[in-house]
């Protein structure tokens, strides 16, 4: 092969990623919201014990009107009555909404980040953790996979404490406790207590699809356990997707309220 041709081939192979890279878009806002779109081509099989990637439920992740919970206990009923939400069963006019997330810039908290505003998020696996990096709020969670147990009588945290294990080669199950009672469960202002336990089941159906099921078990607030997300389908996004920032800041919330709470 002529020397010049070899040089040209090497140059193209060397420069191609850089040329492609220059055209990669920034600030991707995720999939269209109208539906979880069908696959464009048959997906490959699920890789073994691997959830890594950027996942998006499209409009299915947003949960504007809140979940349909199990009946509340008297304690849960009383707490729920103090919540004046933007939407759902406790919907109030803008001036009266007291949602800690949208009016004060408090953290969304767990598991509301799964039940409302589950925008695209990235899963990263390390030898002893699974990290979940959420576009909304630009926050992250650590799910420990090193065999530790959940803390007994933990100090409450906005995002609680989480441990996880593989149930089989395509199903990862996370247990969480120790959540902060100030957070709401969803955009309808459904309440919870610090005694709540949450189970998340991530089932990798195939290469491109992950399903999420979330079960709430909070005997102080609800009369029985209930499923808040049932096999929510999420699509795998290209690995070079640069996600937008979507941060509900306190100053922006204040500016909005000044203009609209009339």
């Amino acid at each position: 092969m002529p020397k010049r041709l070899i040089v040209a081939i090497v140059a193209v192979l060397t420069l191609a990623p850089a040329i492609r890279g220059q055209n990669l878009p920034w600030n991707n806002s995720g999939l269209a919201q109208s539906s979880n779109q069908p696959q464009s081509a048959p997906a490959g099989p699920a890789p073994r014990r691997d959830l890594s990637g950027i996942w998006d439920a499209g409009g299915g992740g947003i949960g504007a009107r809140g979940a349909t919970p199990a009946p509340l206990t008297p304690w849960g009923e009383a707490l729920g009555k103090t919540h004046k939400s933007g939407d759902g069963a406790r919907m109030a006019p803008i001036a009266e909404i007291n949602d800690p997330l949208s009016t004060m810039g408090d953290p969304e908290g767990f598991p509301r980040n799964l039940l409302f505003e589950l925008r695209p998020f990235q899963i990263v696996q390390t030898p002893n953790q699974i990290l979940m990096l959420y576009m909304f709020e630009k926050r992250w969670r650590v799910v420990w996979t090193d065999g530790r147990e959940l803390p007994k009588d933990p100090d409450p945290r906005w995002y609680g404490y989480s441990v996880g294990k593989w149930e089989d080669d395509s199903t990862f199950v996370v247990q969480s406790n120790g959540t902060d009672e100030r957070t709401w469960l969803d955009n309808a202002g459904n309440p919870h207590s610090t005694e709540m336990r949450v189970e998340e089941r991530y089932h990798r159906v195939n290469q491109n699809t992950l399903e999420l099921t979330v079960t709430i078990d909070d005997p102080k607030a609800y009369t029985k356990p209930w499923v808040a997300r049932n096999k929510l389908a999420m699509r795998l996004m290209p690995h070079d997707t640069d996600l937008m920032e979507m941060i509900p800041s306190a100053s922006e919330a204040l500016e909005y309220k000044k203009a609209f709470a009339k």
Binding site: Q33, Q37, S40, G44, E117, A259
Partner: protein
């Protein structure tokens, strides 16, 4: 007839499906859902922020009095999918805004559509660009 009814049902489901994210932070409680206004005015400020982007503009009412309106759309993430951007408006732009006002009569509401100085219309309804289009390319196997 049966097909027509089914068609109407599908349209209704579609409208509901795409309208939910537009009111993700709050619902209808503050708004007069029976009313729609079309106002010509001059942009004073465009705020590209969470939980809602909003446009402020001056427009004359029936008595020729200028009022400064504040009208909202959804958040930057949702609106960018519909072709809106931080740079969609600048102070001084002459625009025509179709809006749904709040119940109390204050110059506040939510945008249905805006006609820009160049004649382009920015809408808030209907499927966002990309809805129903071929799915995004998937992550190659590694």
């Amino acid at each position: 007839m049966k097909n027509m009814c089914f068609g109407i049902f599908l349209v209704a489901v579609g409208v509901l499906a795409v309208s939910v994210p537009l009111v993700a932070h709050h619902g209808n409680a503050s708004f007069d859902t029976t009313k729609e206004l079309k106002l010509k005015g001059t942009v004073t400020e465009w705020i590209w922020a969470n939980p809602h982007c909003f446009l402020k503009f001056d427009a004359k009412d029936d008595t020729d009095t200028v009022r400064n309106w504040a009208v909202e759309v959804s958040n930057p993430t949702d609106m960018s999918k519909r072709g809106w951007a931080r740079t969609s408006f600048k102070a001084g732009d002459e625009v025509t805004v179709t809006l749904q006002p709040v119940k109390g009569g204050a110059p506040v509401g939510r945008i249905r559509s805006v006609v820009l100085p160049n004649g382009q219309t920015l809408g808030t309804g209907g499927p966002p660009p990309g809805a129903g289009a071929p799915a995004a390319p998937v992550q190659p196997a590694r």
